[in-house]
Symmetry: D2
Subunit: 429 residues, 4 copies
């Protein structure tokens, strides 16, 4: 039998708290899950530092990847199969792309990528196309299959309908993570009627559209997304941990560049510092490795590296105040001077962090990030962009919200120290 | 104000998926959570290797410890407070003991303790009484407070009522982990009506008893416990991972003893190998550290260490067959010989693992592990042992169930190899 | 002991699917639940005809009334008690008003009140102040206690803080019914974090305010409310049943006024027809009584009454089309003529029904229905009106949405009947 | 197209709180739901008088019937379809039998059938085969289709596999009601992993069997059933309401037989009293009708009928004590004499009620009620009876549990009345 058509003797199931069960019948999916590159995702948390705010958020990207696969499987097998606008030959491609879409994520990737100027999407592509177990499995389907999978994930694949299953304003990726992150953090946001949304999905030329009768379930999803962003993903305590993490990596890099002699050699970081990380090096990284170094570095000589690592490991985070860059840039400048004078390096200990989200947007040609709108399908076959039909979505559509916060180490600002007086006043402590 | 009576300005809450919210008002509890020893529990999984079977089970002992605290807090503040048989002066002691009861757990402690002949209970005691942040916080209550907390956890404290809150056949520890492990694995077992159980708890001399009207909720708890043991805790795939883990640690120790020269020096293991681990060394251990070494050791020269580490990291586990030691010991002996001959070291690759549980038991004086029975309180004040009242509990009471399985690496047993023929036959592959 | 301070020997609990348990310790509450007037609420559905659309919605006002009581109890006992701005002497008054706030609801009260020009609020007042078991119980507290309870429900009580617990844009009444109706219908809307909302409630002069940190939970509540209104309460199929019900009552009244001789005498309706219903008569009414008559009237001579009753009992409802009164009034007029000609009385068989809701509003003095805004309490003590802080709420604030639908009996419009041709065309069937 | 193959243009869904959605694609199912006989089930509560104990239990048999249909649909379409042992031609028969299996249930059928010596199964059969809308719909499939549906429900149909889907120790009927009744009462019992059970179901000759790997889910179901029986179905307060209901019907019948002249004529009861109820009469009965009469009879002259009706309507129930018939028969006799003397008719006011259940049983030939055992299917094709594999099920298997209680009106037994002294003593009040 052809490998692409090969089924397991008996369907395998993974018990999943979000989707109850994840079903696998295709040999290729089973084999992909067993690869070392996919197993590595168990060692990368889905929500990075969020577990320091919401202690339940300890779930990995392995979890989420299986979830996205399962959602696409349900769409394709239970909703699209048999419809003329859907080509069932794209089925396996959709499933593999869904499963592997996050394969290149590194440890705490938000901060990590920023400091070392990396992009996980490039690594996803490299893993799929490179000398890896994943590539071996995919290549058994056909020689060009890995490339097709990589294209779907990169959104460059010809059939945009397939792309939109995992990359659009309402895709399997988002539907999984909103529900999953809500489940593990325990918050009541993040619930929407996915079963209903799946049932009203329809393949339509180059996009997935939604039967009009399901509009309210889609609205609910948009609102869930909005709440999850501001309540969970941008939570200021999580951001504080992210700030410290970023500064640790900056400091280590800086020390390396200054020729600092580490007590504990940062073997895993050398190629990162040099900006020449190979796929092999990259695949060795995970959050356990990072935490290992941070714990070792608690014993370094450099007081900044040592202190920041200790803060991260023992969750002694920075505090924050609201900050308006447009109006308060002078205050920030003054604080920098005062920190410097007080012997607290503002480069590492006085940090502005910004969060920004656009809850939903329709197509605005020519803008940086062109978002594909969500379309509703009327009974008469007509398509209507969501915000024209939904008052609630219209109300928040296209409204970018941005928050800025100024982070600082409250425990280092002392009430009885004369040189801290003005700092305390400016920060309104 | 005395430290023991100090309250936070504003009650703090942790969002918890199991108990919705965990409430902290006491300064001492807040301070304990902030200690580095308690934060370390974030880096030790509650269920060890179970995440390799149930991918949701990635939650840490930090999670569980907060949960046990919260249950005891609800019992003490909402149910016991004001009852003559309860001394509210034991409140803070109960809360601290609940929070800290698992403090000494090491990484993958089941295997870890077995190989290195350690006992996490000793380390819990050592952390509470030693030179630690936890000890500093507890000592602020009173000089003998750390000792009292350690005694409650060690079950040697005079007031057995306090002990029974966290150590009995139905205690806050078990009630939390059954629910929490069910939540994170996603299984439907593990649900029982804890709110009802808490409401019928009554302090009674040296034990917690349960109003008779709550018997069915208690029955349900016993059945949940039974199902969780056999469905989750003793799951054979989890046991397989545990077997490999144990063998990795054995092998590393063995190599060290043989003077093997590690490419990657097992710094964190030296004192373990020597059997002279200090508290300071111990506190540096966590699961990230272990996984770091296992990943490094994938590149060692020793083929066994290398192979076992690779199996664990990439989840390439052993398969198993049922095994009856009483009847099949000869088969095992023969298989050992055959493995030896085939060049597969039976010491590491042919392992019998046994699981055993007693779902509930009443008091049987003189037995090894004397279990305190669960007592129901009748309206007339009379106490009745649970299994005398509940037919279901009576039916399973005192019946120890034991399962044995024989683990082996299926991928090394090859169908086309002559010398594997008899192995295949004996294992009925 | 004074009756107001009398506690039950043992706290009583009702198992409740929404709040888990409803707790009763006060003798007066227990006694009120046992009165025949309160037990009557078991025979009035919370959502009237909604069960014909959502089959789970068979729950009664008895259910909901207990739920509102429980929410107020939790607010008062767990959140307000001990705060200087709250007078615990208002506790029992708040609990009784919460429990009894819906006491005067008649069967299918929406239609019922419209047809007979009644107001359930008057009956609530009459039951509380009249010669009833409820009044006897309340009077045992004090002679003026019934009057105070009636005033709280009528919103005329002096202490507006007490009033706002059960009558405001975010009160115990709404919090219970949104969750309860979502639970029984099974929809995923209607979930919000009530536990969080209760925890951030603060008594503040003449209103309940919400700590700013709970803003997102309040937002979520507003969005839930919005979705429940349009998905459940205004569901067009439910409205169809309501239309038929209204027409049955109209027809019966009309027939009575015309001197029609009923085969089955409408004993329970005579005083309603006359517009002189006494409290005693009123209390005999419930939905079982109505359904009894509707079933009997299926055998009346009058074809319209007979047909409408049969439709309601056997759920053979009207269909509907969207209708825009401003643009389509001429079409409606023409349809009326055509129905008349076709022998289908448009008075009973061609009905416009309108639904309208204002999701949230701040105070607009001088408007018909002045709504008290929701206020957020900042750390500095400042109050901020919700829509000024929440972008989402601001987006929908003050925007009234109205829908109109035209109902008609599709089964009576026949494709092959010449005189129905134009009807079919106009209704776009 | 043949009616049996006719599908709806668009699948219809019912929102269901237990199964999320109930899916209907077959025209015949849609038509059956619309019949007046099926709609009548909305007016019969699933759990009779249980709502007087658990206020959430107000759900109807309409609800449950749809649920059983949905479970059978999922089994047949998602699990059995395509397996050689299943004949898909039995599909529609299975679905119709599932939907209609409770069609003949009367109001409060437990008491009702006992008093009037009726059997709802006969009426189910009569409705299916008689001159009804249901029969008309079924007959459109084929002339003998109604008969086949009736046979499946009566368990006399040739293909026992079809019968076992809705009548066995683990069938769709039980799986629905356990979950549904748990949901509406709000209790935590009644949860089991139905999704898992459905997945391991296999058609096997004349029965449904369960793959061995699903044993624990089946165990959990058995335990749920056990708990639901004793916690919900046999709840003594519910039984008390049942006792009063039975006595009302007895009294009304007795009065009629004595020639008593009712103020309010029991029109709907005449044929019941005579023992000659026709199908037409029967179908007019529902719980609203009963409650209507009970409310009217609150104003009858007969003091017993009047009192009992008032007790039922206003939930003023009897109290109870444990009663052991084998040991306490003399006490009962003495109490009867004392009640008689005190002017409290023991026939109506001193009632023994017994509940009895067998949680699970294997086949015991020759016994009254032969129960078909549950079989587990091993990988090698071998069948094993459940209690041989499961220790827990073995422990409770075949153990009938019976409880007896003695009900009496506590409010009529007065402490200060001399003639009640001995009663009080005997009842240990």
């Amino acid at each position: 039998m052809e490998y692409s058509a090969e089924k397991l003797n008996e369907e395998k199931v993974f018990k999943d708290p979000v989707h109850r069960y994840i079903h696998v019948q295709d040999r290729v999916i089973w084999d992909l899950v067993g690869t070392k590159e996919f197993q590595r995702l168990r060692r990368v948390k889905q929500l990075g530092t969020t577990y320091l705010t919401f202690h339940g958020a300890e779930h990995s990207r392995f979890n989420h990847s299986l979830g996205v696969y399962e959602i696409v499987r349900r769409i394709v097998d239970n909703v699209f199969d048999g419809r003329p606008e859907w080509n069932q030959e794209e089925r396996l491609l959709s499933l593999c792309a869904a499963l592997l879409h996050d394969l290149g994520h590194g440890p705490f990737s938000h901060s990590f990528e920023k400091v070392f100027d990396l992009d996980h999407e490039n690594f996803t592509r490299a893993i799929i196309l490179g000398d890896t177990e994943v590539n071996q499995v995919l290549s058994r389907i056909s020689a060009d299959f890995p490339k097709k999978v990589a294209e779907v994930i990169a959104k460059t694949y010809g059939n945009k309908l397939v792309v939109s299953l995992i990359s659009s304003q309402i895709d399997a990726d988002r539907m999984d993570y909103l529900q999953r992150d809500a489940y593990f953090t325990g918050v009541s946001y993040g619930h929407f009627d996915m079963e209903r949304i799946l049932r009203v999905m329809r393949p339509k030329e180059d996009q997935v559209v939604f039967k009009h009768s399901g509009m309210h379930a889609v609205e609910d999803y948009i609102m869930s997304r909005y709440q999850m962003y501001w309540q969970i993903y941008f939570h200021p305590v999580t951001r504080s941990a992210e700030v410290i993490l970023t500064k640790i990596l900056h400091r280590a890099k800086h020390l390396h560049e200054q020729g600092y002699s580490f007590k504990h050699m940062p073997l895993h970081f050398y190629s990162l510092f040099k900006g020449s990380v190979t796929l092999e090096d990259y695949l060795k990284l995970d959050e356990g490795i990072f935490l290992y170094y941070f714990q070792m570095w608690e014993e370094e000589e450099d007081p900044i590296l040592k202190d920041l690592c200790s803060r991260f490991i023992n969750r002694n985070l920075f505090k924050y105040v609201e900050f308006d860059p447009a109006k308060e840039y002078k205050k920030l400048a003054r604080l920098s001077v005062l920190f410097e004078k007080a012997g607290i390096d503002p480069e590492y200990y006085l940090v502005v962090d910004s969060s920004s989200d656009l809850p939903y947007d329709f197509y605005r040609p020519g803008e940086e990030e062109e978002r594909l709108p969500i379309h509703l399908l009327r009974k008469n076959g007509e398509l209507r962009e969501l915000s024209r039909e939904s008052e609630i979505v219209d109300a928040i559509s296209g409204k970018r919200r941005t928050d800025h916060k100024l982070y600082y180490p409250a425990d280092l600002i002392l009430k009885d120290r004369k040189e801290h007086e003005e700092i305390i006043k400016l920060l309104e402590l």
